[in-house]
Symmetry: C2
Subunit: 266 residues, 2 copies
């Protein structure tokens, strides 16, 4: 039987709030067995870009990353957020090690070709290109990888890559070696039928139901890339995918209780 | 016989100049055998601090690191400089992996106690606390560690630590496992008797001669912490310590020729 690997993605809303982040990291540190943390960006990049006089342009939730913005995301994602999380986890005796996709060439990617829109230094992960055994090496040696949302082109440039996509791609790449469980943590209790009602959680979401809710416009726009990545992982062999509140991670992975929305194939 | 480990420290002057940095990294990538790169900070922190409206206070070449400045050094050292170097080395097929002292708890340190002056989040490495075998693990698995000048207090906070000190402490910690050779690379040809004359290199500098030159005020002030760290390494068992120009690293470590100033005990 394969060992279980928990991959947990946390988004900007938790990162931006030190109390929430500390609470989450305390829980994360206690999760037994091999685990990986993937973090998003939060508002700091936009703030610091503004302070440095750079304009932020977002298209469908994606940041246009020109050369100057790449410097800022490298600083904030790869430095400030990633290393702050690593230091906090080390204080909890969790043997964290911070990575971008450039480190040890763990996540090579391709710079997105400019079409109607030029996203600049945005990186797309080529399916099948992440070598799971390279990441398993760190897990087998009891390290806890913490990934920043940055990849590289193997030609000397870092690239800005969506953290949801990185989480999904890592879970897929490691599903050969492990029983992989992927958790997308954010500030809501799960996928909700009514955004105003935190109790309106869809406990099980099938791909079919997702397509129909999407078609009817009943899924919040910001959830679409997350759910697309989440279903992609499930279809590609990841054993379990859950969308949940960051506060629920301890309940689920330490106390072994249910929470959030579980995605199911059929 | 022990295997040779080359530890190379590069300073701000090389980091601030992309052409010089690229040339150095191309040479560094070709050095055979286990190796470690330690980088300093450069002017970017002062520039970005300025753009963010923070004042920079330096005392004897040391930066006063308040909470806001710690955020900036974490961004710039741990993110921008470290990950840019890692991505460039990966493009040269050098299997670089970027570290701060918090990653895998490689360099725990103590926050400097406030005396007459409060240096803020400055970290001093406690002698004997770096476990060489933890770093040797990465070297044995063919990774090339790239260290940013950051340590941590194992209580959740990163700390700003001088890169020369980190280089010296790493070389000492690894001198049990390896024949350690430490190179301090900068923009001069070595320790000079006349700062205006790049040919006035002291080829061999004994501790005694250093003390007498220091006493006579004939060593440039900026060189003192570097040389103090360098001699500390030599006395503590590092096999060879050289102060040289960044351009000379290929000549020395690929072509096996002499350059710079070699420190000698007697």
């Amino acid at each position: 039987m394969k060992q279980t690997l928990n991959l947990i993605k946390i988004g900007g809303n938790i990162i931006d709030d030190e109390t929430k982040l500390n609470r989450f990291l305390k829980d994360f540190a206690q999760i037994p067995g091999p685990k990986i943390l993937i973090h998003g960006g939060g508002k700091t990049v936009t703030q610091i870009s503004g302070n440095l006089g750079l304009e932020t342009t977002m298209v469908n939730g994606l940041r246009i990353t020109d050369a100057e913005t790449l410097r800022v995301v490298t600083m904030v994602y790869g430095g400030l957020i990633n290393k702050t999380i690593v230091a906090k986890l080390q204080a909890e005796d969790c043997n964290a090690i911070g990575f971008t996709g450039a480190d040890a060439n763990l996540i090579p990617a391709a710079k997105r070709a400019a079409g109607k829109l030029d996203f600049g230094y945005a990186g797309d992960i080529i399916p099948g290109v992440i070598r799971g055994e390279k990441i398993a090496f760190f897990l087998d040696n009891c390290f806890v990888p913490v990934f920043a949302p940055l990849t590289h082109d193997k030609a000397g440039s870092l690239l800005n890559t969506n953290a949801d996509t990185i989480a999904s791609a890592l879970a897929i790449a490691l599903s050969g070696q492990y029983e992989t469980k992927l958790y997308y943590c954010f500030e809501k209790n799960g996928v909700l039928t009514d955004l105003e009602n935190e109790d309106s959680i869809i406990e099980e979401l099938t791909l079919e139901k997702y397509r129909s809710l999407k078609h009817e416009g009943l899924i919040a726009k910001g959830m679409l890339p997350k759910l697309d990545n989440a279903f992609k992982a499930l279809v590609a062999g990841v054993n379990s995918v859950v969308i949940c509140h960051a506060d629920a991670i301890g309940k689920m992975l330490i106390q072994d209780k249910k929470a959030g929305t579980e995605l199911v194939k059929e």
